[in-house]
Symmetry: C2
Subunit: 671 residues, 2 copies
Amino acid sequence: MKLELIENGFIIKHNEHVLIKHTSEYPAFFIGTGVEKIASYRGNFDIKDHITERIPLCAVQIKNNEIGFSYNDRSPIILNITFSLTDSENIQLNIKQNLSSYNRFWVKLNSDPDEKVWGCGEQMSYFNLKGRNFPLWTSEPGVGRDKNTEITFLSDKYNKAGGDYYHTNYPQPTFLSSYHYAFHVNTTAFSDFDFSHDFYHELMIWEVPESIEIYAGDTFLKLIEKLSLRFGRQPKLPEWIYNGIILGLKGGEENSFSRLENALNHQIPVAGLWCEDWAGIRETSFGKRLFWNWEWSKKRYPRLDKKIQELRDKNIRFLAYVSPYLCEDGELYKVAKEKGLFALNAKNEVALVDFGEFFCGVLDFTKKDTREWFKNEILKKNLLDLGISGWMADFGEYLPTEDIYLTNHVDAVLMHNAWPTLWASVNREALQERGLEGEVIFFMRSGFTNSQRYCPLLWAGDQCVDFSRHDGLNTVICGALSAGLLGNAYHHSDIGGYTSLFGLRRTKELFERWIDMAVFTPVMRTHEGNRPDENFQFDQDESTLCHMARMVKIYKHLVPYLKSLVNEAFEKGYPVQRPLFVHFESDLNTYDIQDQYMYGSELLVAPVHKQGVTEWKVYLPAKETWVYVWNGQQIQGGQYITVPAPIGQPPIFYRKNSAWGDLFKNIVNIK
Amino acid sequence: MKLELIENGFIIKHNEHVLIKHTSEYPAFFIGTGVEKIASYRGNFDIKDHITERIPLCAVQIKNNEIGFSYNDRSPIILNITFSLTDSENIQLNIKQNLSSYNRFWVKLNSDPDEKVWGCGEQMSYFNLKGRNFPLWTSEPGVGRDKNTEITFLSDKYNKAGGDYYHTNYPQPTFLSSYHYAFHVNTTAFSDFDFSHDFYHELMIWEVPESIEIYAGDTFLKLIEKLSLRFGRQPKLPEWIYNGIILGLKGGEENSFSRLENALNHQIPVAGLWCEDWAGIRETSFGKRLFWNWEWSKKRYPRLDKKIQELRDKNIRFLAYVSPYLCEDGELYKVAKEKGLFALNAKNEVALVDFGEFFCGVLDFTKKDTREWFKNEILKKNLLDLGISGWMADFGEYLPTEDIYLTNHVDAVLMHNAWPTLWASVNREALQERGLEGEVIFFMRSGFTNSQRYCPLLWAGDQCVDFSRHDGLNTVICGALSAGLLGNAYHHSDIGGYTSLFGLRRTKELFERWIDMAVFTPVMRTHEGNRPDENFQFDQDESTLCHMARMVKIYKHLVPYLKSLVNEAFEKGYPVQRPLFVHFESDLNTYDIQDQYMYGSELLVAPVHKQGVTEWKVYLPAKETWVYVWNGQQIQGGQYITVPAPIGQPPIFYRKNSAWGDLFKNIVNIK
């Protein structure tokens, strides 16, 4: 990575690729003002921006290591940038604004039509971002996420919730380029990373950011390693995770525990029982929701304390659920209100958020008292002390931007994207303070820069219970790969999907295909979905129980290999699920593939993500001989092949000379 | 209207209302650059703009009558504006750009939340434009025009044709304000008039326009008069129009003429027979389309020449159809190609446009030869010489913006909006050159600035065959009122609507409600719609034939009054259909009403535009006593009242002391 001064400007380049070229004729930086309108409805945000000024910073004055930028030679300097080469491969731009009246900033980077770009958090629709723009704002991901589908149309119409390709619980202003550099903007402001232009990228940020970091690496793996160091690495997975699947059930004590028993009777290896309804239930028109008062519901789980101990004796853990909000009609709300732990509105009342037929107070995690109380009274006392070994730390995307005042006095528009990380840090600290890291785990769907540091496990959010292009099974792979490149080593999803609306129902086929994929993710976990009674469940069909038993046994069989990947993640930050190209840089065919992945460096997985198919087309990267697991056939890479695709036989291939070859070979023997 | 110089700027005001206040802190003018992306599909345009610079013109230098604008005191002057007060009430801003590199221009006007704004061409969804932005670009108006409806969803999905509230065949960069001024920008570039902000309007134009005209008037009628002079007035309607209804039929000679006979046998007064299929037919998946080769189809109308003469003997005129394109598979295409009359693409081939399963050449009306040929060989020889008395001059909105080269060398992006007026002028000239103005008529849906000067009659385009909010019967009223304010005195619509897609079918009820409204428009004309066989037609039901006969008789009964309105239009430019507020300025309740209108100054019409209703709510303006036509009841204005709403008894009211009282009173006696 090099910084070169040229006439009236400068160049930043890596190898022969010019990333940024700034001249007075073609400036790379612009500053301006804008007036935003943000309308929110249950975690869906309608964001409009009206740009009132956009000034090209044409003129530069270079002094030592500092460059001053202005509109023209005779205008005052608006912005100063100092460049620090953190090492020979990385550059940091530290930005200082002389006039604070500007609130929009643009950076233009060179590109070309062949460049590939990845990252921007957990992207569910497009892995290669080139060709589109990506507004970066944590929110509900949308239902259907495709304006051409009926379910998105209906969700938009009735709930403003249809979403689009860029909506995600976890955005991040960081991307990697096929030119072997990574680019990160230090901001929590709304931003729009626009890769839609052939010959440039344009990043727009709703503030003048403090700094910009640019990393270079000879290989993509090297870049991932750097980013994972920069954003923080996750602890290793708890040992108990490897025991099998986590069953998600929310039918109350008798129902959940007896169904667990049934699963065990069918020889399904179970690592945990996850009852998100541990704190109670609330019926809404959306489906079965939870009672957001984070304490053991003795009504719904009368003997939970004893039950958790009994489970432990069987080497099965119990998992629960929390969110960073408390419902108005719960007991804890009263306590938190009394203690002044909520964010307030202009009338000095608790700032409430509509979660769909119920309202909750926003716990103000910028306040030390709130963090301590939530950690001590809820996470430690109500969860850990009860023997709970994990939880879904849900939500984090809903921070309203209007009529809310936070203790740290920062504008909620700037705090909105910061919230997921803040929420993750509260959970992480509770574990650290109890010394339970690597023993207790929580998993989140929301995220932002530095989530990596706090959140030990991502989950892919709420897919539709279908095979749809933008909200179905396949989107989970895209999410894992994009988040993984930014240093999120662990990813998993609701087996079977979650959202069932407007007549859409989960089928047995979908559920079983999802299991077949989840075997090759670090954690297997089922979910009943939002409307359990109307959707296919793992135990309503004998053959599915048997299928699940066999597939979880394969997961267990692979645990030695998985543990090696966990070690790699710990040491180098490599994600467990990886895009093909990080291991096959020279094979350009791999750069756009987003529905296959490498499970570690040795195993290629190509999940079947369409309905009613009997065979499946797979790309095998070049310069490798692949072994098809199910019949041992050796196939030369560098070509597409078609394999049979019955349920229970997901298309998986390993490298012919893999050190793990024997383990993979034996998958076929597991019954 | 006054121009006042203040420190670092100026003010333009009318009475006490400041229209424009320019200071260095709050500049009213901005200049910049943008890169547009225009994707078109069958007349539907997807327009994206990427603003790369937007410079506030903060600093002014005032010399005599000229103001120079620059970014700041030390920057060069970018723009000069001279102000000419054309009379004490009007101001013209003549704009000169010193650097031609800028292609975006913004004007900011003062506003407040109570201001009302009208105009911007023929707007079908919203009459008062305040609160929304209006991109001004002639195009298909869309099917459904409401993203919350199934038909718009399906039209978007399958045809990119759903449209939105601002899509119109006839945009115009001109608006009127409730502060009694009118604002016009002299440009044919794409523009976006944004009235969505509480305290300002912002007009964005894709060029630095030559000039801006601002008119003031003590009354709205005075403003209309000024605008109609500015944009040109229409000739009076031909006398034969008053004879009754124009029947739109397209079943070929035998079918069309025998159905006309049937109508006459049912005592329906008929002014004209309009056979748009006179040049032949083409079946597409959309429905029955026409064969775009503008000459008498002897196959479909074997004895048309004689038939036209026979009709004339019965005092009935024959009307036809043309568009500014020729289909590839027609004979005239060959001729025009041979003569070089088409616009060309980069390969020097004829520039073709996709009209939905058929392609047409774009006649280049910027070329004198093309205009002359089309006027002489088509309009005069093929239409007028055959005895045709009128035609639909369809389309005009489809000029592509890419890969098309025009003889006048102007960029097609700038010519796109100019095309409807150009097309109107060709038609108008043919009539003028034959001395047939006021005797032969044509009607258009597309329009732009100066359409008023050339097009004698607007028609409201293609509504859905329903009562829907954004594409049904009621939108025709909004279209008439908004276009009328800009000096388009004559407006009418397809009785029964046009578009039948995705299972939507015209009902008898809709057809009859539409007739009930059309009686109170200057011209009555039916249309079979795009799928005649699947939709209700006037003659498939005895009772509808009788209903139609009675309603057309009411139209005829009102002809003396209508002629007085035509005279008024000729002398003062007042439209026949007028918003309530132009006659009731002091009653602010009238300012937002868009589903009632004054038919002239004397008759208030409140068309029933919902399905299955038995009564109808009407607002009667204050300071007038109104007579309800159907029972003679006198009602004090300034209130909402509810009247029965059977078909055949449209809610109409006249002023108690109207000079036309006897005529209106006798409507009830017409059987």
